[in-house]
Subunit: 284 residues, 4 copies
Amino acid sequence: MQIDLMNCMCSNGTRTEPEHLLTSRMAHPSDTVVTVGSHKIGGGSFTLIGGPCAVESEEQLFTIARAIKDAGGDILRGGTFKPRTSPYKFQGLGAEGIRLLVEAGRWVGLPVVTEITSIRNLSLYEDVDLIQVGARNMQNYDLLSELGHSKKPVILKRGFSNTLEELLLSAEYILSGGNPNVILCERGIRTFEPMTRNTLDLSAVPVLHELTHLPVLVDPSHAAGTRQYVAPLARAATAAGADGLMIEVHHQPELALSDGPQALLPEQFSQLSLDVRAIRNALR
Amino acid sequence: MQIDLMNCMCSNGTRTEPEHLLTSRMAHPSDTVVTVGSHKIGGGSFTLIGGPCAVESEEQLFTIARAIKDAGGDILRGGTFKPRTSPYKFQGLGAEGIRLLVEAGRWVGLPVVTEITSIRNLSLYEDVDLIQVGARNMQNYDLLSELGHSKKPVILKRGFSNTLEELLLSAEYILSGGNPNVILCERGIRTFEPMTRNTLDLSAVPVLHELTHLPVLVDPSHAAGTRQYVAPLARAATAAGADGLMIEVHHQPELALSDGPQALLPEQFSQLSLDVRAIRNALR
Amino acid sequence: MQIDLMNCMCSNGTRTEPEHLLTSRMAHPSDTVVTVGSHKIGGGSFTLIGGPCAVESEEQLFTIARAIKDAGGDILRGGTFKPRTSPYKFQGLGAEGIRLLVEAGRWVGLPVVTEITSIRNLSLYEDVDLIQVGARNMQNYDLLSELGHSKKPVILKRGFSNTLEELLLSAEYILSGGNPNVILCERGIRTFEPMTRNTLDLSAVPVLHELTHLPVLVDPSHAAGTRQYVAPLARAATAAGADGLMIEVHHQPELALSDGPQALLPEQFSQLSLDVRAIRNALR
Amino acid sequence: MQIDLMNCMCSNGTRTEPEHLLTSRMAHPSDTVVTVGSHKIGGGSFTLIGGPCAVESEEQLFTIARAIKDAGGDILRGGTFKPRTSPYKFQGLGAEGIRLLVEAGRWVGLPVVTEITSIRNLSLYEDVDLIQVGARNMQNYDLLSELGHSKKPVILKRGFSNTLEELLLSAEYILSGGNPNVILCERGIRTFEPMTRNTLDLSAVPVLHELTHLPVLVDPSHAAGTRQYVAPLARAATAAGADGLMIEVHHQPELALSDGPQALLPEQFSQLSLDVRAIRNALR
């Protein structure tokens, strides 16, 4: 019951009142800015993250990395340890994928982000600029606590059935461990509507901006699940005030090993980059 | 189960295949344009509807009507027969409310829209330019069929737990009766997230534009439930490609008889009108 | 947002506090018993309702009616005006269906129940013992108010996305009109789970029994959507303390004009009737 | 989107078709029976698990353990590593809690079950008879894979927003690692209804029994969230055919460090134990 969850912020412990939470804007009114390489996330800047769902090969990754850079992308994404619903599906290239991703980032001059699925692999992420905690692990408190002991920037994605309050309390696990570099990401929630993979909850953007000082990104690719809905939702997220976007891009989506149908083509990503800038300028 | 619903479009009857549905873009590729007074909805134009949740008094309505007109609004809204969850809450001014609304519209030179809750009242709506079917009546097929025998333009709001396919099939009830003047409206769906009154499903905009030729509006007021989230969601809906917005406005929301907390102040509506135009220009 | 809905019971009007609601057990501690023909619903008795989703023909209906009676059923159900998602699907036999249903009930000696979808048809229901308001019309307040002016017993089904509080407030529309003969019915809510047509919310039974004095039935057929899940859910509802069950039965489900896959065969209904009695005896 | 999930069972890889899944009843028609101490779970027997939400102290635990044993309980539960939404809430007694739990189990002669939240703690569970994977970790594939390399029996709880198919595929992670001793547990899903903490989905019982040979338990305590709804839901789960129940019990719930409001009192647990037996006998 939601009311139960609300109580955890309102109960009478010293640190559980909203004004004492580290994630709360009541406690820290000014925007947190997270530095990733030479790029800044939050505080009025806009961050465009692009790349394939999964790192599949050197050729695939380097082709897409070049396209992301050329389109004005700020950070290169690519899955390496993939949490798949079925144990029999492609699980990612693992350590070799991380090596390729870091290399591709350096080649095009972009910081890189990839997901972590196990604390046992943490040492493999040393050269990764930004670590992603995926939706399925949003309440893996063991992983969150461990990331709290690092200073590495973390993107924390909302679980597909977690409330915004739960997202903030999961972020609190990282911040209370000593790591202030947390970025939140809305990526769609689970509802009864089958036309889209998930329902993108864009009210998360203004609600989170009100409640917390942490930057808020939006991933419309996983919410849409279908290529042609990604750009309209990305434009919408921008107009709603998101601090950035995380977009899946593939130059040969029909050959992709995961989530091909939701990947933008490089030229679509390029057009989106222009649209996003235009919207930001219009609302200035 | 969603699959059951999908079947109703795919089953083997002659009229139940998508290509034969009157609402389907496969059957009618070009956009439907609905004329309301001298204003056109759909087909590339943008429609800004504003006004109070409920018509409360002549003074209240005329004050707000003037503000809507001055801000560049295209249509004046105001509830007169209000479907309230509790029988003991304000149920609207009824026929007298419709009389006031029509008068206010003429005074400021705007067409008017108000909700219908009973086929018995249909004759009262003769001077109303646009009739709204609310979320709770989206599957009141008796009402839909009756409106199909009229030529009066109808805004059909998505039920707060209805799929987009069900919305289209409800529209089909009106079109198949002979009335082609139907406008769809996304207003938020029911989910587990308590921070907003409902979860605005903006993917409805690109999905509906792909599936149907009917115009698609967005009502962010009922989805947000809270004033400060309305404008970001309205901007987002515009950037997602909506054909228009339906916004609740009140000059004294703290005195409103219903839904005061989600009403924009006139000056906020005015700013939103400017923002919406700026976004539309930027994306042209 | 649920909190908004909760408020409608807690706000400061005289009749909107729970202790003043006509549906509230605080106001009326003892169970309401609704008399239908010579059968009593609520107050410790158990009511087994069975019959086809839709009345299709005299032969079909009379065959099934006999089976319901022989199995120990208390009331015969059969849809006559069917609210269908698509306007091109079988809409029921209408007035002729009501005539057949009443005749079949008399022939086997059972009271009958059928759904109403329009206030315009109310006069057709004179010989019907029990009127059902379906899930899609749970918030059709025009229809509810009209039924409040009758004394005819009403089964009010929970909308597939309505809270229990909304269900009670819809019942309040009928009671406050002067008709105390209301029976509530849980029939499944809409969730993300696709294996069943809806998710049967059996917590509704103890929650409603705590909050209200009205009888509470359960319809597992529409929730399950698939024959083999109906009996386990029906047994579960009985063990949870439901005052009765509403079950779809068809002797030739593969030929049924609607909802065939969820209909029990007569012999399955017969076995269920025995199981239900055994559970009730065991818990006495 | 559900259809995406369904595909993972229907896609054209060798091991992803239902008939090849290790969890599938198509592949293994007869019921799996999991042995825990001298107790057998599944295959027609019934398992009653009881105990406190969290192990709080020796006195608390031993008092409750005695009550569980005396009431006819089969297994003693008690949380030791608690995954809490807020980092500032009681996180469990950890290793010391496990030591107390094992000791209490031996003292009363019952096997014990407790939740694991981190693979790093696995060695602490050596004397624990049955390991629970909680709802929040249902898709923590790193943890599931690790448990697949053990032979220790595992209770896998359904995530509060996971489909039944996802639950089965998570179980597949454990089975495919070599551990066949998996027990599934329905504990409520997240919906819009606020009267209960979650919505118990009892259709999970017949659906899972059809799809898989693994035993299926039900935890009505977390679904209900409120003491008075637990017993009706537990009786319902029994009548639906569950292979057992997992119930939170506390002798001083008002002093409990977590989830006190949903704990049964020992005498209520005792009565429930009788009711469950009566229902099982009645349906034999």
